[in-house]
Symmetry: C2
């Protein structure tokens, strides 16, 4: 049993994305907090593996990105659920914090 | 790919706990939002199964509960990581919203 605190990773890099691996020692899932400065793109990508992921908007707003021109507004409290093998990405409008859970971990 | 909105499940039952299964059709994980009215206990429990879970405090505050008298303050942005087979529970102080991710799903 352990406690993680999202307030401990509330840091941004100007014009870029900062990444904090909160859980990466578990066979069940990986949990990562990404903090995107305003106007930053987390490029669309996918992996040819079974499994799913969630991308939860903790703070700020932007867009969930997908295949082709898919661009879905993403606000605080919105959660994208996607297969790991489906193309997925994020673009921030304001500063934006997201929490990504990947199961099984990759 | 699908989008869930936590603002759509922002409902409480006086003196009790309300439960919303956000993802329960995935072989990878289960995601559940529990909303506890103030002073409500989500009793300590465990399952004799491999896997882990996270309990993220979305809003409000209270305590993470564990084995014996374990009682850890839990505020917005705090995340408990636990084995499914470790005793775990929650007690709310204020109204409290939590997001539970279980992998693999049980």
């Amino acid at each position: 049993m352990k406690i993680l605190k999202l307030k401990d990773t509330n840091e941004f890099t100007p014009g870029a994305m900062k990444r904090f691996f909160l859980v990466e020692d578990s066979p069940s899932f990986k949990i990562v907090n990404f903090n995107l400065d305003e106007g930053v793109t987390f490029p669309v990508h996918s992996h040819d593996l079974d499994g799913e992921l969630s991308i939860q908007v903790l703070e700020g707003e932007g867009f969930f990105l997908g295949d082709g021109d898919t661009k879905i507004p993403a606000k605080q409290g919105d959660i994208l659920i996607s297969q790991i093998r489906e193309p997925h990405g994020v673009r921030s409008k304001t500063q934006m914090r997201i929490l990504v859970t990947i199961a099984p971990p990759i």
